[in-house]
Symmetry: D2
Amino acid sequence: MHFASDNSGAALPEVLAAITEANDGYAMGYGDDVEMTQVTAKIRKIFEAPEAAVYLVSTGTTANSLALATLCDPWQTIFCTEVAHIHKDECNAPEFYTGGAKLTLAADKDVDKMTPASLRAAIEVEETRGVHGPQRGPVSITQVTEYGTVYTLAELTALCDVAKSYDLPVHLDGARFTNAMVALGCTPAEMTWKAGVDAVSFGGTKNGCMGVEAVIFFDPKHAWEFELRRKRGGHLFSKHRYLSAQMLGYLQDDVWIEAATKANANAAHLAGGLRALGATFKYPPQANMMFVALPRATHKRLLDAGAVYHLWDGTLEGDDAEMVTARLVCDWSLNKEVIDQFLDLAAGK
Amino acid sequence: MHFASDNSGAALPEVLAAITEANDGYAMGYGDDVEMTQVTAKIRKIFEAPEAAVYLVSTGTTANSLALATLCDPWQTIFCTEVAHIHKDECNAPEFYTGGAKLTLAADKDVDKMTPASLRAAIEVEETRGVHGPQRGPVSITQVTEYGTVYTLAELTALCDVAKSYDLPVHLDGARFTNAMVALGCTPAEMTWKAGVDAVSFGGTKNGCMGVEAVIFFDPKHAWEFELRRKRGGHLFSKHRYLSAQMLGYLQDDVWIEAATKANANAAHLAGGLRALGATFKYPPQANMMFVALPRATHKRLLDAGAVYHLWDGTLEGDDAEMVTARLVCDWSLNKEVIDQFLDLAAGK
Amino acid sequence: MHFASDNSGAALPEVLAAITEANDGYAMGYGDDVEMTQVTAKIRKIFEAPEAAVYLVSTGTTANSLALATLCDPWQTIFCTEVAHIHKDECNAPEFYTGGAKLTLAADKDVDKMTPASLRAAIEVEETRGVHGPQRGPVSITQVTEYGTVYTLAELTALCDVAKSYDLPVHLDGARFTNAMVALGCTPAEMTWKAGVDAVSFGGTKNGCMGVEAVIFFDPKHAWEFELRRKRGGHLFSKHRYLSAQMLGYLQDDVWIEAATKANANAAHLAGGLRALGATFKYPPQANMMFVALPRATHKRLLDAGAVYHLWDGTLEGDDAEMVTARLVCDWSLNKEVIDQFLDLAAGK
Amino acid sequence: MHFASDNSGAALPEVLAAITEANDGYAMGYGDDVEMTQVTAKIRKIFEAPEAAVYLVSTGTTANSLALATLCDPWQTIFCTEVAHIHKDECNAPEFYTGGAKLTLAADKDVDKMTPASLRAAIEVEETRGVHGPQRGPVSITQVTEYGTVYTLAELTALCDVAKSYDLPVHLDGARFTNAMVALGCTPAEMTWKAGVDAVSFGGTKNGCMGVEAVIFFDPKHAWEFELRRKRGGHLFSKHRYLSAQMLGYLQDDVWIEAATKANANAAHLAGGLRALGATFKYPPQANMMFVALPRATHKRLLDAGAVYHLWDGTLEGDDAEMVTARLVCDWSLNKEVIDQFLDLAAGK
């Protein structure tokens, strides 16, 4: 009963098999492996972007930071939500990689999404002070959001339109890219460049890889700068084939889509069960993550029984009847039986 | 016949097996995996350093840069050789991670080792200008050197003594740590803290891992700062168990020592064969890497036959009799037959 | 009729005289001038801080950035208001000098002051995420605030108490230090270390110097690091005596206090006159700066007549009756006649 | 008898007069003062560069660092001599402002000048390692050199030609620009853009200003980036007129040229006198600075008599007959009588 994070589960067997297969004989290092050639071709095809520059790194923080540093000058500010991973969970990595850029919060505290209005308002603040204020920089959108909701294509497009109206580039933090894509039933292209996105952190780790994320620039003009930034950040793997192989295993057939489909289905099953118990959600669960309020007594029962997850606000101390919100994340490796066991416990059965 | 680098060969079967074994069920992320507990205990035992702070990262550039940034203020300078990886091959990663420190070259161009005299002279240069010049910072020693030689324990100790006489910390770039250790027939402790080393980049990747390096601080006071630097550099793996498992597989039994022993033996066999053909070496090959001068015609014959390696100075164009130096590196996965095939070709058989 | 800024007026005659006097013969450079010895002694005496480390730089942005960088690690976040100069008006200088620290806004948009509650809430946000979130760093308080109000000693102490309860250092941005001190009728010590402030940007430029600010650390342990940061920031003057002389001229007798007293009196006279005309203020004007709403027609009349000042929100376009807020700043070099002329114009006389 | 540095002497009376004249009434801040308009026009005229972007900062380290940061990416390396101010005397300011670029030494230890051959060799080192090594960046030439010699126009042109053949920009550190220009008897244009220089640190401080240096880019495309870098470095003066006024006073009539002419004449008189005493020079004194070997006994006599200057290598301890090199710098404010007094003392009269 592990719902702590989608980075706690095992890697997909196809990913491990690809690693094993790649571990044969010699391969040139530093991205010149044949597997990487296949990865680039595959991602360009999937994204319908034959010119795209494609790179692999090992963590989401790296993908975000390097992509943003490539798009953002040190005297600029990045627009994002208050709950964005780049703001709250990367120990100032974007500030470090950009050489001291700022992050401007374009959504209120605890709000999952930017809106065109909130984004525009944030951008406007930086308007009229010449050299004195931070200069306007990229917009970074998180999809799936940090609260488990998913921007619709119309919402994404509207945000990108605002950015474009100020001539600002758009970055998509897609740590849970495929979960969002499956939730929307759209194509990778529709969720990115067709909506106006310029660069994507295309996550693999949370959806069944060991540790690999792709960074995709739809305009290849960014390629060489990114390669230099990756190298001096220490993120260019010498035995690069083990990154490539993971991504190859992940993207072959429909492994990546099936994994996200299963994770989302797990979450839907869990959310349905909890809703049936009368539980309420902070935001509508739309992908593989939810924030659900349950009585303290229920949490105690679940955690005592070995369930693993994070309490989001509040602690176990105090009145048993009081509600405390938990974050529950479902990965591909969960199954209906475990979820039902959890729901039974929650129901007090 | 692949002698291009020890990062071109396959990973050790024990490493892959450990990855596979670790891929079972859920594990807490970000270094809280049970495998990491075992790694820390193992490394502390191997190094006879029960208090040491131990961390894993995925590349050598990262290990060096994060270790040095922890030891070096931005207004200081790091002392190293002209051929050091941190100077020539990391695209200014140390300068980036330290926030703009300098590297001072304490050995002449193309020289493999610092000497106490050359180190002392370099340190003295920075002596008398107060706030104006760069301040003296850590000494970084590469062992195995970039030219395939190995500092003796006496040499290491003498360099550390110079550093200590100026109260400067010492970092050891041990990308090929085990190859050096095997060459010297010494213990990890003897080659590090007993000689005066404060922090080590303990390489796994070049000796049979997929991509893992340990950073070891013998004084744990550096632990928290390192953890923060690792995180904001994007180097803290969420599914950290896959780093830990590699290192566990590598360190179990004597896998790591046997791999380096085999690599060194491969190199000795190769060097012996080349020497028998009359070839000369830029520096005495003492571990698993050599720089050997061969006639252009020999290079052409070898490369035409499919041998893979780097020419170090010069090109294939010109007089066939002229000597061109090649870098040849042997990893654990080579074997005597392949080397003999290479030697036969070199001999023109 | 110049109310645009207190950095638009001429320098005090005493400051210019001191420069002229210092321009005699040879002086050792880089802060070793005899004038600096006098400045240090004078500031230590004024602040009743015989151990304080005292430095001079030429701009307020520099004073703030270097002081904060000395107090703040790159992985930390600085707590300040949304309207703070360090956040809005320094083009990311604090982010640059700290090597990529973050600024956390501990007051709502357009709010002049932090409160103990808003500061505590902001600090608490960063509490429970270990290495993932930014670490808590210094608190930076602006006195006079950017909206022309002045923290009382009780307010300052309460904010410092919150900071101290989390073991965080406190920086005071005193670009208008003396205006605040005069407004409060307190001593420099009361407004700083006695309230709990650790480091001060003690402004001279806005109160009649040409370009000099002191940075004062009450704990001299920060001295050497500051000196190195100043040098590598390019802020150590070779002909340092011209910085020292300004500060000497400024601090001799009660020149600095009289200048601020006059500036505040000018502002009080102006505010009184405007209030008599029925004008309203965004915040109560408590030092030498005010934000006053006037009808567009009034602004047009004033600006047409040659008055110089900034409209804070809104423009001159639109209905003449509509109110637009202006920022009016009074420096020491204004006088009652000019202010009365301005008030007559505002009154439509 | 002060020969310690040309930053120890008083400012020119014309500079002080210009400051005093500028201190009249209100002036817009941050470079929008009318004096700056005049400075820009004057410098463009002097340099025959009607499109040049012109900025003022207060120290030479700032001028160099901001100019180089504008020309140099963080992953590049700057080519300079071992004795360059940017390498030895700025506490890593170029590394800081560039965000971690490297400096590559293109001349041997203690050598005053780069040659086309030494520059080309240094550039070639960085050639063939793709993303791994630092990338080639700007060439920075110091004129007057740190050893008091002056590059001829032919030498300057030859260095720029090498840089251009690799498509690298050229920066001129002209802390003693006018001393060099006077020594060569050439125009500012000949010593800069006509020779191939792209950006100049045009020093005022060492030649009689209080603290002002111009940064000049002959291609105005760098203007906006420079303005942002200047601001976030804390180097944009609010009361900017006091920088502008210094430069105006300095450039009016031929004040700047006369000051350098006098400083050089002082040095020539001093060098001639020393040579007549049999003294030898490390390098031929060609501007206003020399490195001269004198017996210890002579140094003792001079210093005892109150002469002020720096010993460059060695100390006063030991055999009186042994030679120790001193650095002697002459500024505009010296005169023949003082020099003759010094020479008499040196002669033992």
